[in-house]
C-alpha cells in the first residue's frame, strides 16, 4: 500500500514547484536565518536533498510542501552551524531583545512591519514563533528540533507573541 502511494516526482514536477513555490521556501528560510545568503543556501540544499531522496516522496503529500519542510530543516541546520548557541534558552529576555547592527540591516531589507518586529525577538523566541505560528509545527516537534524542553518552547512562543502584540499595539497607536 505504501509502495502504491509512492510516485517519484518527475523533473518537470520539480521545475513547476520551483516556479510556483520557491518564494515561499526562501521567505521561510529567511525568517529563520535572517541572512539572505544562508536562506538561499538552505533552499538550494533542500532542493538537492529532495531530488536525491525523491524515491521516498509519498504521493499523499505535496511536493512543494515536502521541499518546504526540508528547506526549513536545512535553514535550522545552517543556523545551528553558524551560531552554535542559537537554540539555547536565554538567560535574560531584555539582553537578547536588542538586535545587533547586522540584524538591523536585515530588518531594513525585509521592509515589513512584522518582519521588522521579529527582529526584536531573541533567536529562540523568533525561531519558536516562526516554527509554531508561521510553519505550524507541533510544540513537540520544535522541542525535538531545537533540542530543548516543550516548556521552553511554550515560553519562547508566548514571549515572542507578547512582544509582537506589544509592537502591534504601538503601530495601532501610531496610526490612530
Amino acid at each position: 500500500m505504501v509502495a502504491l502511494l509512492r510516485t517519484r516526482p518527475s523533473q518537470a514536477d520539480f521545475h513547476r514547484a520551483i516556479s510556483e513555490r520557491s518564494d515561499r521556501w526562501y521567505a521561510a528560510c529567511l525568517r529563520i536565518t535572517r541572512n539572505p545568503d544562508l536562506a538561499a543556501d538552505a533552499v538550494q540544499d533542500a532542493l538537492l536533498s529532495a531530488w536525491a531522496k525523491r524515491d521516498q516522496f509519498q504521493q499523499s503529500s505535496k511536493l512543494d510542501t515536502w521541499i518546504h519542510r526540508i528547506a526549513v530543516n536545512a535553514a535550522l541546520q545552517l543556523l545551528r552551524r553558524q551560531k552554535p548557541g542559537v537554540f539555547e534558552p536565554y538567560e535574560s529576555e531584555v539582553a537578547s531583545a536588542d538586535p545587533g547592527p547586522a540584524e538591523s540591516l536585515d530588518a531594513a531589507e525585509l521592509d515589513d512591519s512584522l518582519s521588522a518586529a521579529l527582529q526584536g525577538l531573541s533567536d529562540i523566541e523568533r525561531l519558536c514563533f516562526v516554527l509554531k505560528h508561521l510553519e505550524q509545527w507541533r510544540i513537540r516537534e520544535i522541542a525535538d528540533e531545537l533540542e530543548c524542553s516543550e516548556g521552553t518552547v511554550k515560553q519562547a512562543v508566548f514571549r515572542g507573541v507578547r512582544k509582537l502584540r506589544g509592537r502591534m499595539d504601538d503601530l495601532r497607536r501610531d496610526s490612530a
Binding site: 520557491s22 526562501y26 538550494q44 538537492l48 518582519s115
Partner: protein, 229 residues
C-alpha cells in the same frame, strides 16, 4: 489562568485534555476571559508576514541544479549499462579463451597423439586466441568511437581485458599476440589518465583506433592464410 494557556488553546497544541476542557468551560461563563481570548485570536490572525520574493538568480540556479542533477543521473545510468555489457563481454571472451587454451594444452600433451592432430590442436588454440583478440580490439575501437562513453572507464576496462588476453596468449605460447597486446597497453593507460585535455584524449583515441585497425587487418589476413593452408 494566563494568556499563555489561551495561546496554546488557540494553537490546539501543548495542553492536556483537562486543561482544554477547563478553558472551554471558562470561556462559556467568563465574559472578560472570553474578551481576552477574542483579542488574542484577532492579534494572532494578523501576525502573518508576506513572503519575500526569492532572488531571480536563486530561482535560475535551482532550475539549473535540477537540470544538472537529471543529466548526471542519465550519465551514470549509461555508465552502469556499459559496465554490465563490458563485464559480460569480458566474461564471455575469457571463458572462450580458457576453454580454447585448456583444450589446446590438453591436446599438446606428449602422448601417442599423431603429429597432424597436434598441429590441429595448436591451430585451434591460437585461432581461438586470435578470435578473442579480434573481438577485444573491435570492441575497444567501437567504445572509443562512441562519443558518449566515458573515456577513462572504457580505457580501464580495456586494460583489464588486455591483460587477461595477454596472459592467456603467453600461456598458450602465442607470443606474437601477447606482444601486440603489450604494445597496446601504454596507450590505453595514457587514455585512462584523468588529466588529459579533450584534444589530447581525442588525438590518442585516434592513434589507438588506427593501430587497432592495423592489428585487426593483420589478424584477419593471418586467419585467412591459416584457413587456406
Amino acid at each position: 489562568m494566563n494568556d499563555e494557556k489561551l495561546m496554546l488553546y488557540f494553537y490546539e497544541d501543548g495542553l492536556d485534555a483537562a486543561e482544554r476542557s477547563a478553558i472551554r468551560e471558562r470561556l462559556k461563563t467568563d465574559v472578560e476571559y472570553r474578551g481576552r481570548y477574542q483579542r488574542l485570536c484577532e492579534d494572532l490572525q494578523q501576525l502573518h508576514t508576506p513572503d519575500v520574493a526569492a532572488p531571480e538568480s536563486l530561482k535560475n540556479r535551482l532550475h539549473d541544479l535540477v537540470e544538472q542533477s537529471a543529466q548526471r543521473e542519465q550519465h551514470s545510468k549509461r555508465r552502469r549499462r556499459f559496465d554490465l555489457t563490458a563485464f559480460f563481454f569480458g566474461v564471455a571472451v575469457t571463458a572462450a579463451l580458457v576453454v580454447g587454451v585448456g583444450l589446446g594444452s590438453l591436446l599438446d600433451r606428449p602422448t601417442a597423439t599423431p603429429a597432424s592432430e597436434l598441429m590441429t590442436a595448436q591451430t585451434v588454440s591460437t585461432d581461438t586466441l586470435k578470435r578473442g583478440v579480434r573481438v577485444h580490439f573491435a570492441e575497444t575501437r567501437s567504445r572509443l568511437l562512441d562519443s558518449e562513453a566515458d573515456r577513462i572507464l572504457v580505457a580501464a576496462r580495456m586494460i583489464e581485458q588486455n591483460r587477461s588476453l595477454e596472459a592467456l596468449a603467453d600461456d598458450g605460447g602465442a607470443h606474437d599476440l601477447a606482444r601486440i597486446l603489450r604494445a597496446m597497453e601504454p596507450v590505453l593507460v595514457s587514455l585512462a589518465t584523468e588529466d588529459l585535455s579533450p584534444q589530447q584524449a581525442a588525438a590518442m583515441q585516434q592513434q589507438l583506433i588506427f593501430e587497432i585497425n592495423v592489428v585487426l587487418t593483420k589478424l584477419a589476413r593471418q586467419s585467412s592464410d591459416s584457413t587456406s593452408t
